[in-house]
């Protein structure tokens, strides 16, 4: 009897040990990456959003209490965007304030668990200590992101880097090799060095995340290249003449469109072309898509070379931009404003988007590390937000003049 009891107790203990093993690893979890790792949302980095960055969601879910974040006070750096309604009833997106937030956790003794630096490219992770901006706030002069990631003696790492190696080309509507887009060879070298160093100089379990198609974000899809007049498409005017269905008009075109640029005179525009920097033409799109695919194949082959689990987040985000992702019968999509997955900047995910990403990370960890991490309850992010809408009409009017207006088009 006693033997049986002992065996039972042992069984319970062992069972407990196995199912809770992940918690131990999460105690030493460090997240490396860029704005998507940092939890950048609505055009800024701010504490209430940093606390729902995907690494913070993962840590909280695993019961980690002291997951250190480079918190920034509201209204954020830069101040986060909000939807405003003009006195004429026009809806536009603008920063919530003209003042900036400040770092709240600058004197944290140690290395932040979330080391994601907004704007960081694969080169920055290897080589940038200080840039007078986010690097200074997050790395605090102690070393590069990679150096800090190694020095922290991590037990668990998520690595999601490379988005900024192509995003510049999308945001600026221009493919400039070595400036807005990283050459393949350089990316290959950077990623090989980063992954090789993490494998060789840490004992951490590492999950590698690939790159979502930056050319499919709402920033590129929201404004159509045409205006529909009585069922007929009248194409906007680009630098090379009328646009085609294959061209993409960037969200930044709104300020030009509101002044009449790009709109034919018969439709009330000034007939002048939109600048090149707010258009992604078919050729640029093809180059960007090919580059992302190439980068992803580099990431994928490095992951398998070093035997690291790979999260194909590109697959999830492509699903979001086609059939959508179902949550309780709600079809969340990549549509700007009301799709639910992207935030007001049209580039970075919403809280819901980050929570979906966090659950995908959990699935990959469970599958590859034989863990039993519970998935995160999405309902709390579906029906409530960590951000309280200010809704202040006065604030909206105050900043109205310095912002670009975005009309919600039907």
């Amino acid at each position: 009897m006693r033997k049986i009891l002992a065996l039972l107790v042992l069984g319970l203990f062992v069972g407990f040990g196995l199912s809770q093993e992940y918690k131990e690893y999460f105690q030493g979890y460090y997240a490396l990456g860029d704005s998507l790792t940092a939890g950048y949302q609505d055009g800024g980095l701010v504490d209430y959003y940093q606390k729902v960055s995907f690494p913070a969601l993962l840590a909280k879910n695993a019961g980690v209490e002291n997951f250190a974040l480079p918190l920034i006070s509201p209204p954020g750096i830069p101040p986060v965007l909000q939807l405003f309604v003009s006195p004429k009833g026009q809806v536009y997106v603008a920063p919530i304030s003209s003042t900036y937030g400040v770092p709240e956790n600058l004197y944290y003794r140690g290395i932040y668990n979330n080391l994601g630096v907004p704007g960081a490219s694969s080169y920055d992770m290897l080589g940038t200590v200080s840039d007078g901006g986010f690097h200074n706030i997050i790395l605090r002069g102690m070393g590069t992101q990679l150096q800090l990631g190694i020095a922290a003696h991590p037990k668990l790492i998520t690595l999601w880097i490379g988005n900024n190696d192509v995003l510049g080309a999308v945001l600026h509507g221009k493919v400039i090799e070595g400036a807005t887009i990283t050459p393949v060879k350089e990316f290959q070298n950077n990623l090989t060095t980063i992954i090789g160093a993490l494998v060789n100089y840490t004992n951490a379990k590492i999950v590698v995340i690939n790159l979502p198609r930056a050319d499919l974000i709402p920033f590129t899809t929201y404004i159509k290249p045409y205006i529909e007049v009585q069922g007929q498409k009248v194409y906007l005017i680009g630098p090379k003449g009328p646009l085609t269905d294959e061209d993409r008009v960037l969200l930044t075109a709104q300020e030009y469109l509101s002044q009449g640029y790009g709109i034919p005179t018969q439709l009330g525009g000034n007939g002048q072309p939109l600048p090149d920097g707010v258009i992604l033409d078919a050729h640029e799109r093809a180059v960007i898509e090919a580059r992302i695919n190439k980068f992803n194949s580099i990431i994928s082959s490095l992951a398998s070379q070093f035997n690291l689990p790979l999260l194909d987040i590109n697959k999830l985000m492509q699903k979001a931009s086609t059939e959508g992702i179902m949550v309780g019968g709600v079809r969340l999509t990549s549509r700007y404003l009301t799709g639910g997955i992207f935030s007001l900047d049209g580039v970075h995910p919403s809280t819901l988007g980050y929570a979906l990403i966090a659950n995908e990370v959990i699935k990959v960890m469970n599958e590859n590390f034989n863990w039993d991490v519970p998935l995160i309850d999405i309902s709390q992010y579906l029906w409530s937000s960590p951000r309280t809408p200010s809704g202040s009409r006065a604030a909206s009017l105050a900043v109205k003049n310095m912002v670009r207006a975005l009309t919600v088009k039907k």
């Binding site: 939807l83 059939e323 309780g328 009301t338 659950n359 029906w383 937000s385």
Partner: protein, 426 residues
């Protein structure tokens, strides 16, 4: 631009095994509906029309079953989350049946049946807070089938039959409409939609065969053909104000509120086949085993469209259904306790037909055990009464994290079925 998220699926409701009613005669249902080989009363018109070839007299059988499902749902992460519990609203579904058997000649017998092969619904309590409200808060279906049959006795051992199944069906679904609100950074309930199809007539057929090689043995086969229903109907959208006039105006530009919106939908009621063997060990006792195979894989999708509002059509991926053929095993026995008084009992194992993807608040399909009992009592020379009671125990059914609507958890469904029928032999 004007596309809104509608998960809605008109009338998938009626399709689950759980909405497929097999109780169409109280004598049979008291024996777990294991009746295809014996088929020894007018409900044979449903269970195996060849059975009426052996009845030999004009016979009326009339009654119904009262079905009272109950149950609840326990949520899982990621949605609606652990700790969420949702209850089914108590509902009572009366399912009537009527049968007439009339011999036309010594070998040819005519039968006419009227029964309701589908006719249940799923209604959730507190619909405005029900976490599955964007999928369905209330769904129901009604189907009435008129089934004239002709049976022919080839010999004292063998009979065959064929019949036409003329079905009249309609469906109803209600749900809430969600939309992500970029002002509040969360999903709001922006409206409700109620869909009602028109009555639709569909045609099918049933076939039956009974072979009785000896007085101790009977073998039955029956087949019911699939029916394809292409519904037309109306959808009614009502707006729920969120308190933000700008957002509400945006919602109004997306959805056709307060008008009758045409809607089309189609679905397939699957074929089924039954193979049954009955034994008669003594004059007082009969036993039967039935194997029913239902071709649920014929139910592949539930296309729905709004011909005047194509922007509302759900994407094709979400109308896909994930069903597999299933087998139901039925055991039943009948014992003549004394002259004019029968005891009956049965057991059924009904295997689930839906893959986890298609286990939803609209149709929480599950494997089930049914335990049945009943009596039959002669009231006078011509008239008799059958009573039955069935308890249905649904196996807890998990969506295994695969529900196509992203609504994860475990359904617990039970039901009580009470039946009564009067028989009159001329």
């Amino acid at each position: 631009m004007k596309k809104i998220t509608l998960a809605l699926l008109l009338a998938g409701a009626l399709m689950a095994s759980g909405f497929n009613i097999s109780e169409h005669g109280t004598r049979a249902t008291a024996m777990g509906s294991a009746f295809t080989a014996r088929a020894a009363d007018p409900s044979a018109i449903f269970y195996n029309p060849a059975g009426i070839a052996f009845l030999g007299k004009t016979w009326i059988y009339l009654g119904g079953t009262l079905i009272a499902p109950s149950g609840y749902f326990e949520g899982e992460n990621p949605f609606p989350g652990k700790g969420v519990k949702e209850d089914l609203e108590s509902q009572y579904f009366p399912v009537p049946n009527f049968y007439l058997v009339k011999p036309l000649s010594e070998k040819m017998v005519f039968g006419l049946g009227l029964y309701s092969p589908f006719g249940l619904g799923t209604k959730w309590k507190n619909p405005e807070n029900f976490t599955g409200r964007y999928i369905s808060t209330d769904s129901s279906t009604k189907m009435i089938t008129l089934n004239p049959v002709l049976a022919y006795r080839l010999s004292n051992k063998l009979a065959v039959a064929a019949g036409a199944q003329i079905s009249f069906s309609k469906v109803h679904v209600e749900q809430y409409i969600p939309l992500y609100d970029p002002f509040t950074f969360r999903v709001e309930d922006v409206g409700t939609v109620s869909l009602d199809s028109n009555w639709k007539t569909t045609l099918g057929f049933n076939l039956g065969l009974i072979f009785r090689p000896s007085s101790k043995l009977s073998v039955g086969l029956t087949y019911r053909h699939k029916q394809q229903a292409d519904y037309t109907g109306k959808a009614n959208f009502s707006q729920l104000p969120t308190g933000n006039m700008v957002f509400d105006a945006l919602v109004r530009s997306y959805l056709p509120f307060d008008q009758d919106v045409s809607v089309n939908a189609s679905l397939t009621y699957p074929s089924s086949a039954v193979f049954a063997v009955a034994l008669y060990p003594s004059e007082r006792l009969s036993l039967e085993v039935d194997l029913e195979y239902t071709f649920w894989s014929q139910y592949k999708s539930m296309p729905i469209s709004f011909p005047d509002h194509e922007e509302l059509n759900p994407p094709e991926e979400t109308t896909k259904e994930y069903y597999h053929d299933n087998i139901t095993v039925r055991f039943g026995l009948e014992y003549l306790l004394k002259e004019g008084f029968y005891l009956r009992a049965g057991y059924v194992y009904d295997q689930e037909a839906a893959d986890p993807q298609s286990v939803t608040p609209l149709l929480p399909d599950t494997s089930r055990h049914l335990i049945s009992a009943g009596i039959g009592k002669a009231l006078n020379e011509n008239m008799y009464l059958d009573l039955s009671a069935i308890y249905l125990i649904g196996m807890p059914r998990s969506t295994e994290g695969k529900c196509k609507y992203g609504y994860e958890g475990t359904y617990h469904i039970n039901a009580l079925l009470l039946g009564v029928n009067l028989g009159y032999k001329f």
